[in-house]
């Protein structure tokens, strides 16, 4: 029969959903090195990378929700909420205990926001896009209520490690490694399988005995928790609290997830791809600003590249469909 045709050799490669993003990353780095010879200079590289750190954590959380077949448009608001909650709890001149409390309070706020989303979507069976859009007002409003105007104080002792490069490796890469390490641990539990099963085919998962609603709820709670981590990272990097700081990050997180090869309808992809996606977005931006693109054309050039990158896999599939 024609079975031999059905399993090409690169099937294993195709499984690695982030291959496309990886190619883009290599390209972006190569072009960057051409344009800025000192691209790999530690101080410049770590400075560059540090700006991507909060988005990286956020994109990891978004990935989990998307894998389970949902989407979270409230992550930006959750970043802000955790950010202001942590800064407010910190107060002036905090003790070590207070610092711990502040971090916990920030994380708890993120968890609560995620639980709100998860309960509405998983148990209330509300449509994820509009639901998380609505909750983003509730969560963002709460953040504004806690801190109507930017402010607060973060002691140097707390923010210094954030800017450090332990063992000459930028903090961002440490965090990326930590995220991937945690994810690798999760991959070894049942949870990862349930997550993909629910996102890929909820009905089959349900029939097989997977607790579908619980998995959906937990995906939103994890996303909330990671958004809170991003909010705390922003607190450390900016040394202040701001109730609007996360607003623009939501859509960036979705772009990173999709660029990283995670399927928006769920069940396929992973966190590694999203992290690469974040770097791709960042490096592309730095290419545009270092190439001699006239300044008013930079945004257009940048967003066109992103759009083409987003549509890339579809274009590839279309060409293959035409050829068969």
């Amino acid at each position: 029969m024609q079975r031999t045709l059905k399993r090409p050799n690169f099937a294993a490669w195709r499984q690695q959903s982030f291959v496309f993003a990886l190619i883009l990353l290599v390209l972006a780095v190569a072009v960057n090195v051409q344009l800025q010879p000192n691209f790999f200079k530690p101080s410049i590289l770590s400075g560059n990378l540090r700006t991507y750190l909060p988005l990286m954590i956020l994109a990891a959380g978004q990935t989990i929700v998307v894998l389970a077949g949902g989407i979270d448009l409230s992550v930006g608001a959750t970043v802000s909420l955790a950010n202001v909650v942590a800064v407010q709890t910190l107060g002036q001149n905090p003790s070590a205990g207070q610092i711990g409390l502040a971090l916990l309070a920030g994380l708890a706020a993120g968890l609560a926001a995620g639980a709100l989303n998860g309960l509405c979507v998983a148990y209330g069976r509300l449509q994820p896009i509009v639901t998380t859009f609505a909750t983003s007002f509730v969560i963002g409003g709460a953040a504004l209520a806690i801190m109507p105007s930017p402010g607060g104080f973060v002691p140097e002792s707390l923010s210094a490690p954030y800017r450090s490069n332990p063992l000459a490796i930028p903090m961002t890469l440490w965090v990326a490694a930590a995220l991937l390490g945690l994810w690798a641990l999760v991959r070894q539990t049942r949870y990862r399988r349930y997550l993909y099963a629910v996102g890929s085919n909820p009905l089959a998962a349900y029939v097989t005995g997977v607790p579908v609603a619980l998995i959906r709820l937990s995906s939103y709670m994890l996303s909330g928790l990671l958004a809170a981590c991003a909010g705390i990272a922003l607190m450390l990097s900016n040394s202040t609290g701001d109730a609007l700081i996360g607003t623009t990050m939501t859509l960036d997180s979705i772009v990173a997830v999709v660029l990283g090869g995670t399927r928006l309808s769920g069940g396929h992809g992973g966190i590694a791809g999203s992290l690469i996606g974040v770097f791709v977005v960042g490096f592309m931006r730095s290419i545009i600003s270092f190439a001699n693109v006239p300044s008013w054309w930079q945004t257009l050039a940048n967003s066109l590249i992103i759009l083409i990158a987003l549509a890339g896999p579809g274009l590839w599939a279309l060409i293959r469909r035409r050829n068969v």
């Binding site: 059905k6 099937a11 539990t189 099963a197 085919n201 998962a205 029939v207 396929h268």
Partner: protein, 500 residues
């Protein structure tokens, strides 16, 4: 490990349709029971009741002598009863091993013991080694597998629950001969290890090879049990069709049935492997055989809804439709039986459903009054029972919904009507009316191609029946050869088909 299980006087109705009127079955450890019956005899319903997928309306289930009621498939599994589903329950994005152990992964300290899983999966795959591609490994993604290997994974997934009673519902339908042989060996082995096996199968050769006993159902009711050693293929077929059979509705041969309307020449699709046939005006051509032999693809290829290789000609000239829209222009019409998925706009009005293919006739500013009047006229011809044409299509009963799906094409005056198992799940009265409509259309000279999973329907309505098996036409039955025995045996065994 030992198990005895029985179901007595089990009844299940869906709306007005009785799917199972009196289901009886008993099986014990070390026994292979074949559950047999023609299409629509209720065997699938009975096996779903046994595994907790469907709740019975009445009747009793006894497990090891104790009455029991399953509220879910999980509960049945916990009692050691599991089925290989015909409708696949696999997650395409997970690997073979992950699918097989989903929701009962062996863990160590919270971590899934992947090594154990891989080992056990390899052991399970070993059962089919030699009949499957060497590339099929525990870490292959299920989405990349062809249907036969998916079916095998499905079987292994059930086996991994270590059931005491396993139900194989047409588990061999998509397997090739080698794989079927291997499964037969496995079943013999399970039997030796004191498992109880219920196999729902149409394939006579398998039944006689494996089963100790056969329970026969006919029109939802229990007919009897026979030991396979004491019966013959012909006798079993007789049990499945005897009595309860409506005599062939005498359709007057249509004298005008000579003009060839359409011709298919060597058509290949994903499920068709070289099908050639002619479709005549004023004739009802039946497509029969077991489910899943590629019958719908014949209709869909002709309607331009799926890609195909081969030649299709219409009224003598070759055509190649790439979209149903083009087929419609040439007065083809397709009536699906899966109304929910393919036939209806459930929450839209009856009128919108009727007029969906035809709106462009009513001008730039749709002449609603005219559209409504035309819709009323068709509804009248169809004797559609409805509140008003503005009511949503979902408010109609199954039979009326099916008339609606036919009605939308009647408005376009089709001359080739393609029907894909159109009376699935509708009650007897509605079926009768539907048959009347089809016969009228045929007498008006419409060419009708009818795929049906209901043998009575094919026998009662069709002028000619093509029996399909494995994506090819295995027998042509016409006139004196169009008998129930010929149809059933041509469907069930390749050898018999040639005799017929």
């Amino acid at each position: 490990m030992n198990i005895t299980f029985s179901a007595t006087h089990v009844i299940k109705r869906y709306g007005g349709v009785v799917a199972l009127a009196d289901g009886n079955l008993s099986v014990r450890s070390g026994e292979v029971l074949a559950l047999m019956g023609a299409n629509g005899s209720g065997k699938s319903t009975l096996s779903k009741i046994i595994t907790g997928v469907v709740a019975p309306d009445a009747g009793q289930l006894l497990l090891d002598g104790q009455p029991i009621r399953f509220s879910s498939p999980q509960m049945a599994r916990a009692h050691g009863i599991a089925a290989v589903y015909q409708e696949l329950s696999l997650i395409p994005d997970l690997t073979v091993a992950e699918n097989i152990w989903l929701a009962h992964e062996p863990t160590r300290l919270g971590r899934v013991d992947t090594r154990a899983i891989t080992r056990r999966t390899t052991a399970l795959l070993e059962l089919f080694r030699g009949t499957i591609q060497p590339g099929l490994q525990p870490d292959t993604a299920v989405g990349d597998l062809p249907p036969d290997e998916r079916q095998i994974v499905e079987i292994l997934k059930t086996l991994a629950w270590e059931p005491r009673l396993i139900i194989l519902d047409e588990a061999t339908a998509s397997l090739d001969t080698q794989q079927v042989n291997r499964l037969c060996e496995l079943i013999a082995d399970w039997k030796a290890r004191d498992m109880a096996i219920v196999m729902v199968s149409h394939r006579m050769e398998e039944v006689f090879r494996l089963a100790d006993r056969a329970t026969v159902l006919r029109s939802g009711a229990y007919v009897g049990d026979v030991a396979t050693a004491e019966t013959s293929e012909a006798a079993l077929v007789q049990m499945m069709i005897e009595g309860g059979v409506s005599p062939r509705q005498a359709t007057t041969p249509n004298p005008g049935a000579i003009a060839v309307r359409a011709e298919l020449d060597n058509i290949h699709t994903r499920t068709l492997h070289g099908v050639s046939l002619t479709i005549n005006a004023g004739e009802i051509l039946g497509l029969g055989g077991l489910g899943g032999q590629g019958q719908p693809d014949v209709l869909l290829a002709l309607f331009g809804a799926i890609p195909y290789r081969g030649t299709i000609s219409l009224d003598g000239a070759p055509v190649r439709f790439r979209h149903p829209h083009q087929a419609m222009q040439r007065r083809l019409a397709y009536v699906p039986g899966d109304r929910g998925r393919e036939g209806l706009l459930a929450n839209r009005s009856i009128l919108e459903n009727l007029q969906l293919p035809s709106w462009s006739r009513y001008g730039w500013f749709t002449r609603m009054r005219q559209a409504h009047a035309d819709g009323e006229a068709v509804a009248k011809t169809l004797r559609l029972v409805r509140d008003s044409l503005r009511a949503p299509a979902s408010s109609l009963s199954g039979g009326n919904a099916q008339k609606l799906v036919l009605g939308k094409w009647l408005l376009r005056d089709p001359n080739v009507l393609l029907l894909n198992d159109p009376t699935k799940g509708i009650d007897v009265g509605a079926k009768g009316e539907f048959y009347r409509l089809l016969t009228e259309l045929r007498n008006q000279g419409v060419a009708i191609v009818l795929y049906s999973s209901d043998d009575d329907e094919l026998l009662g309505l069709c002028d000619r029946v093509l029996v399909m098996r494995d994506g090819q036409i295995s027998a042509t039955l016409q006139g004196p050869t169009l008998t129930r025995t010929a149809l059933v045996s041509a469907s069930m065994s390749a050898a018999q088909a040639e005799v017929a």
